[in-house]
């Protein structure tokens, strides 16, 4: 751009400069994303197969594949030779792998969405206490033996608890349309503290079995996953992820701040309420049967952003895939690292996610100009 008083500044010059660079950068981005999606899909497929093929009951890999195909009427591969092999695969292992995929995708997308709404890369359901809030409500369902919605009761309660907590955190931590890092983290501490206290109270009130369930929630595990549960969680996750994908462009614009997003045609109030509901839905999907599996929503979207940039149209579906992949791997580790034992999944993810959170916090504070 020149300062001279050339009356019309639109000569042909710029377009020469523009075309090659633009084409190349656009092309690069698309290629990178394609490779990422392809890679994630393949990795998820392979790891799911590996997860289905590993466990306490030794079933050769070929038999796992055989059992899978036979279930769909295809006479491919050998059936498990162990008398309970087929039943084990279909009643214990496959639902667990399916649950890992669904819950991982839900948690990662919930994290990406929260970060988008809060405009803060540290927002995550477990960090800000939404998971704990959902667990409190779910624990209420158990302790007070609520059954108003059948199989869905726990999930419905978790959803309501998650919704209330998300709204509370949102209202408490925002100022001038933004959420400061410190405010968010401190709000999370406060909300988590209240939720822990309520859980402790419920444990005190509950009977043995309720106490057992609450401890289970606090640590998070996929042990005991059944198709009935997957059937509750999967639709919740699917709806949530679908709406999240639809909102991706608006989330991009929201990164400019609420005012600018509105100037670009985004109904910020409506988007915000919609996405808060979606975050609660996705968190509830994960928490209601698997407890608090922390930090997935923090680590996964961040890694994806490092690869493809922050654009939500790629970030959200890629996070879903990567979250699923991460949980399939983590859960396989949880149930095979120690023979026979089932390590709590939440313990594993926190072991990895906690230090990551700290690193991110330090980094965010350092580059406060961008994210504070």
């Amino acid at each position: 751009m020149t300062v001279s008083a050339r009356p019309t500044t639109q000569p042909a010059g710029p377009s020469q400069r523009r075309t090659p660079q633009q084409a190349s950068s656009g092309h690069r981005r698309i290629t990178r994303s394609s490779i990422l999606f392809l890679g994630l899909t393949i990795a998820l497929f392979v790891s799911s197969l590996a997860a289905a093929g590993s466990g306490q009951l030794p079933i050769p890999f070929a038999e796992v594949v055989g059992s899978f195909f036979h279930h769909f009427g295809l006479d491919i591969g050998p059936m498990p030779t162990h008398p309970r092999g087929d039943a084990t695969l279909w009643s214990v292992r496959f639902p667990r792998v399916a649950m890992a995929i669904v819950v991982g995708a839900a948690l990662a997308v919930a994290g990406a969405l929260m970060q988008g709404i809060f405009g803060n890369p540290l927002a995550e359901p477990s960090v800000v206490g939404v998971s704990a809030g959902a667990a409190v409500a779910a624990a209420c369902a158990i302790v007070f033996s609520l059954t108003f919605a059948g199989d869905w009761t726990t999930a419905v309660c978790a959803f309501v608890g998650g919704l209330v907590t998300t709204l509370a955190v949102y209202l408490l931590s925002r100022a001038d349309g933004r959420t400061e890092v410190v405010t968010l983290v401190l709000t999370g501490i406060a909300v988590n503290a209240v939720a822990s206290a309520l859980l402790a109270l419920l444990m005190f009130l509950g009977d043995t079995q309720a106490r057992e369930q609450i401890v289970f929630w606090q640590l998070g595990s996929l042990n005991g996953s059944r198709w009935q549960y997957v059937a509750v969680v999967a639709p919740m996750a699917a709806v949530g992820i679908f709406v999240a994908c639809l909102s991706a462009r608006s989330l991009d614009l929201l990164a400019l701040g609420e005012r600018s997003a509105r100037h670009l045609g985004v109904n910020v109030e409506r988007l915000r309420i919609l996405l808060i509901v979606v975050v609660a839905l996705l968190t509830a999907a994960a928490v209601s049967f698997c407890g608090i599996v922390a930090f997935v929503g923090l680590v996964i979207p961040h890694l994806i952003r490092m690869v493809t940039g922050p654009g939500h149209r790629i970030l959200i579906p890629a996070s879903a895939l990567a979250g699923a992949l991460a949980l399939v791997i983590a859960d396989t580790a949880a149930r095979t690292l120690v023979a026979y034992a089932d390590l709590p999944l939440g313990l594993l993810t926190s072991l990895v996610g906690g230090p990551f959170f700290f690193w991110l916090l330090r980094r965010t504070r350092r580059t406060a100009g961008g994210w504070a």
Binding site: G55, Q56, L57, P58, H82, P83, R84, A87, T88, W90, S91, V92, R93, D207, T208, Q209, R211, E212, V215, F216, L219, S221, N223, G224, S225, R226, W227, Y340, A341, D342, P344
Partner: protein
């Protein structure tokens, strides 16, 4: 780790039994590859054969009761299960059992597996819970881990044709998974007490198609318990004020878990039947709940009944008194009058009820004989 309180009850049972020195009295009965080989176990004399203390309140010291391995004495050597059988289990679920050739009987105290052995179907048991460690079952693979956690794949690996369990083991979802896999799972009453010796035995026997054997076994267990109770009544002080004020304290590890067992826990009827005075009844203490220091002092127990591994987890009686100074303000604390019993024996009831009652009564009123 997942540590539901019920599982905590005997959480560290997987560890080998620590060596406990008891006064020698009778031969060591244990044999075979049992973990209790390492421990010096000895039969406890019958209460009727020993001389009770004149003043049981002034006796001082810890009594460690370690019953010898049970002698399995099946009611029949050649049981013929009447199959298929359809039973309505303790939760109201209708379960059809068609095959008892591969049985799993799992609960937190090992009562179910012991009962199955006494019914004569011990050879059909293909695995065990961590509390079942008598020689006859010790070689079967374990299916509970992390203390008392059911492992679905480990169970399915054994290809059981029927699973007997109760709600004392978890996660409950694993039970549901087993049903999903097509395995009949019969859930028995989780309550352990003197009041359901017969009915629990009957539930187990019915599920295995042995109703008549169940009746006989239930009768045998109940009669033996009654006979022991009668002996105890004769020895224990008649006057309520003469009976030792007893509480059952559940302590586990350094975490400060500190529960008193009361009404409905099984500990209440155990204390009464063993000739003690059940303090929990006096203060209307229900279930298993944490007790406060002042509550403990107010209870003024003469004797504290505990699980052995619980006591070991806090370094014995010294650790106990150091950790809970309130206990020192009670007669039990002053006299270090602690009775420790194996975690999976003390509240197991079932076939061992008579032995447990007798041992406790001896520990209360004739501890010198142990």
């Amino acid at each position: 780790m997942r540590r539901p309180s019920r599982r905590l009850l005997a959480g560290s049972l997987g560890l080998s039994l620590a060596t406990v020195v008891l006064t020698a009295c009778g031969p060591v009965l244990s044999s075979g590859p049992s973990a209790s080989d390492e421990a010096s176990t000895s039969a406890v004399p019958r209460l009727s054969e020993v001389t009770p203390l004149d003043d049981p309140r002034s006796w001082q010291g810890v009594v460690d009761v370690n019953l010898p391995d049970p002698e399995i004495d099946p009611v029949t050597d050649d049981p013929q299960p009447d199959l298929p059988v359809t039973v309505t289990d303790a939760q109201g679920t209708e379960v059809k059992v068609t095959d008892t050739s591969r049985i799993l009987a799992l609960d937190v105290y090992g009562t179910l597996s012991h009962t199955v052995f006494e019914l004569g179907l011990g050879d059909n048991i293909v695995g065990r819970d961590v509390s079942s460690s008598f020689p006859e079952i010790a070689d079967r693979p374990l299916v509970t881990h992390n203390g008392h956690e059911l492992n679905a794949e480990a169970i399915l690996e054994l290809d059981p044709t029927v699973v007997l369990t109760d709600t004392s083991l978890g996660p409950w979802d694993v039970v549901l998974q087993l049903r999903d896999a097509g395995i009949p799972v019969v859930v028995t009453d989780s309550h352990r007490g003197l009041d359901n010796l017969k009915s629990l035995t009957q539930q187990i026997a019915d599920a295995l198609g042995l109703p008549a054997e169940g009746k006989a076994l239930g009768q045998r267990i109940a009669s033996a318990a009654e006979a022991t109770e009668k002996e105890i009544v004769e020895v224990a002080p008649q006057d309520v004020t003469g009976k030792l004020r007893t509480i059952f304290l559940y302590v586990r590890g350094q975490a400060g878990v500190y529960y008193m067992f009361g009404e409905g826990s099984g500990a209440d009827s155990l204390i009464e039947a063993a000739g003690g005075y059940d303090v929990s009844k006096e203060i209307d203490w229900k279930g298993m709940r944490p007790i406060s220091d002042e509550g403990l002092i107010a209870a003024q127990p003469d004797v504290v009944l505990m699980m052995r591994h619980g006591l070991e987890s806090i370094d014995g009686v010294d650790g106990l008194l150091e950790r809970f100074p309130a206990l020192a303000q009670t007669p039990a604390g002053e006299n270090e009058r602690i009775i420790a019993m194996d975690d999976d024996q003390v509240l197991s009831f079932g076939p061992r009820t008579s032995d447990v009652l007798n041992a406790l009564a001896v520990a209360l009123y004739a501890p010198d004989a142990m």
